[in-house]
């Protein structure tokens, strides 16, 4: 980190990087603000939720080098909790005191922003538990552990009474934002989702470029060295994991409100695979890659819906092609060709 301040070339590269990122951000902003004039708001909102999901996932794989294969856990469970809070509100928690009892918090159905907050908080707690377990092993084991824990919580979702099993939680009311703004209007809802997405996107950007983010990148490049420099890398990894899970939770909770539905699809391992695919296609470790990747994959699923089951085969093919032919992803290749940072 010291070198970066002293080395004029590095400083120049940094300002150049900031400029390219600022231009790309403005372009993205303009496109997303104007997008409802050419595309369906519901499609765009879906893509935005997945874009945020992929950005959250990328925070781990791209900047700490940790491949979580179970991010559906946070996405899906945050969706369940926010759907429940928005539709029913009342919380019934089991606790043990010589026998099982129910502890009831008599909440009314909550407004969407509180429901999303509740979903994100759930994801944060789940991320803390799963992350604390998963960082006990390195590399490839990390991926297997996150996948296994997510599968465990998938089975919980199948069995737990409040998730509605195969039916999911349906007819979730969109409600009024802050009790004021009616979200039943698609365009209004789109801009609310857009603001939320941009806020989280900028937060992730801030995290990546903070001193904390620099330590994360140091861990990615050479963990033993980071340890020998005195960083408690486990704490950094756990913190990054919790942040990533929480933001994935925001994405899942928002998706549940937008689609008025929380279902098993969002906690299944295929969802974990999908977010990996989006990030890989866009570019691992790029700021804008996950956003583009999410739009590419969501539109692909939209337009290829008529092929039915072949979608899985196509997705598998894209995985193979990405790994063998262009590991940098779309944005990564562009950034490399233009010699800028994106």
């Amino acid at each position: 980190m010291m070198e970066r301040v002293v080395d004029p070339l590095a400083t120049a590269a940094r300002t150049k990087g900031v400029r390219s990122e600022a231009i790309a951000f403005l372009a993205m902003l303009v496109l997303l603000v104007l997008a409802p004039t050419v595309a369906y708001p519901v499609f765009l909102m879906k893509a935005l939720c997945f874009a945020l999901f992929a950005c959250a996932f990328n925070l781990l794989i791209g900047y700490v080098g940790l491949l979580s294969f179970g991010h559906a856990l946070y996405f899906g469970w945050a969706g369940y909790v926010s759907a429940h809070l928005a539709k029913i509100g009342k919380l019934t928690l089991p606790y043990w005191a010589g026998g099982w009892h129910w502890f009831v918090i008599p909440l009314p159905p909550l407004s969407p922003e509180l429901a999303i907050l509740g979903g994100a908080a759930t994801a944060a707690v789940l991320g803390l538990i799963a992350g604390a377990l998963a960082i006990r092993r390195q590399g490839i084991y990390f991926a297997m552990i996150t996948l296994a824990l997510a599968q465990m919580m998938f089975f919980f979702a199948v069995q737990a009474p409040f998730t509605g099993g195969e039916d999911g939680i349906q007819a979730v009311p969109r409600g009024h934002l802050f009790g004021l703004i009616d979200l039943s209007n698609q365009t209004t809802l789109y801009y609310v989702v857009l603001v939320l997405f941009l806020a989280c996107f900028l937060l992730i950007y801030r995290i990546i470029h903070s001193p904390f983010g620099e330590v994360l990148k140091a861990i990615r490049e050479n963990e033993p060295r980071a340890i020998s420099l005195g960083y408690k890398t486990d704490r950094y990894k756990l913190m990054a994991f919790v942040l990533s899970a929480t933001l994935a939770g925001v994405a899942g909770a928002t998706k549940a409100i937008v689609f008025q539905l929380a279902s098993l699809t969002d906690v299944h391992w295929t969802m974990s695979g999908e977010v990996v695919l989006m990030t890989l296609v866009g570019g691992l470790g790029t700021v804008f890659g996950p956003v583009l990747g999410a739009f590419v994959i969501v539109s692909m699923e939209n337009y290829l819906a008529e092929f039915g089951q072949w979608i899985t085969v196509i997705q598998g093919g894209i995985f193979v092609a990405c790994v063998l032919l262009f590991r940098r992803g779309i944005i990564g290749e562009i950034a490399n060709a233009l010699r800028v940072r994106l």
Binding site: I61, G65, L67, F69, L133, A134, R136, R137, Q138, G139, I140, Y141, A143, M144, I145, L147, A148, L149, Q151, M152, F155, F156, V158, Q159, W269, G273, V276, L280, Q309, W310, I311, T312, V313, Q315, G316, G317, I318, F319, V320, C322, V323, L324, R327
Partner: protein, 295 residues
């Protein structure tokens, strides 16, 4: 009827048997994963799909060629092993210099392709496969009824596991293999064709999955989805056992199968999740896994 812990002994032993059978599949699959990981440094996500392919080869050679179960037990591992060799030559060998993660992602993609293609042709519902004639019926052991086929599955997979252990730990070929796992460059310098050994190792590991698939065919139906969930459980098994030890993989596989079976008797709601819970506990107590070496 006699009871043990308030459970009818029939039910208890019945679930124990199912547990042993699942355990033998876990053992065969995690053994294959461990062998592949040792040589290729790749976690083979395609393993579940290759287990499914083994069952399908058994089904197809019966439908098309009239070859019975016993022939399938030999043909399936060879066919699936050959596809494994092709996969290794075409794709995996390009990844050895890269981060492990790319191997996982590539094999995940291959699993999606294989499972997707089979699902398109054969649908999601299972196809029936008959128990071979010689193994129909069963033995009355007094305390339970033991179907012959299930006894065969347990003994045969135990045999395959032990033979694998013997080959790797006690023969010259196994010694080369273990040496190449430790230091491929040095083994190459002794004039051993390490790349070919890697290819064959992958074919062999995949063949083990196919054997498990053939044995599973008469018990569960032959279905494109049969490998989808089992591979995640096997990952948990591998995390619990650690991939450093062949015997560890076998013991963990059978042991966890039995525990899962017992959970079905005493606390059925948790039977799907018990292996994952055990994984979490093992991670807390012994992060390197039961038989693993510390990283």
């Amino acid at each position: 009827m006699s009871t043990i812990f308030g459970i009818p002994s029939q039910a208890l032993f019945g679930q124990l048997l199912i547990g042993l059978i699942n355990g033998s599949f876990y053992a065969l699959l995690s053994l294959g994963l461990a062998v592949i990981f040792g040589m290729l440094n790749i976690i083979n996500f395609t393993h579940g799909a290759q287990y499914m392919m083994g069952a399908f080869v058994a089904y197809l050679v019966l439908q098309l060629g009239g070859l019975n179960y016993w022939a399938a037990l030999i043909v399936a591992p060879i066919v699936v092993g050959l596809t494994g060799v092709i996969i290794e030559r075409l794709f995996l060998q390009r990844l050895y210099k890269l981060d492990h993660l790319y191997g996982l992602l590539l094999t995940f993609g291959l699993a999606l392709i294989i499972q997707g293609v089979f699902r398109n042709y054969y649908g999601s519902s299972g196809l029936p496969y008959q128990v071979p004639e010689q193994l129909r019926g069963g033995q009355n052991l007094g305390f339970m009824f033991l179907p012959n086929y299930r006894a065969w599955v347990i003994f045969f997979s135990l045999g395959v596991c032990l033979a694998t252990w013997f080959v790797i730990e006690r023969t010259r070929l196994g010694a080369y293999l273990r040496a190449a796992t430790e230091n491929p460059t040095l083994v190459r310098a002794f004039g051993i064709n390490v790349p070919r050994m890697i290819t064959l190792t992958y074919g062999f590991g995949v063949g083990l999955a196919a054997i498990a698939g053939v044995m599973a065919a008469p018990i569960y139906n032959v279905s494109p989805l049969m490998g989808e969930d089992i591979i995640i459980v096997v990952f948990a098994v591998v995390v619990i056992g650690g991939m450093g030890s062949i015997m560890g993989a076998i013991v963990t596989g059978f042991g966890l199968g039995v525990i899962e079976g017992l959970t079905k008797v005493f606390f059925p709601e948790a039977s799907n999740t018990v292996i994952f819970v055990i994984m979490a506990i093992v991670l807390l107590i012994r992060p390197a896994g039961l038989f693993g070496r510390a990283a």
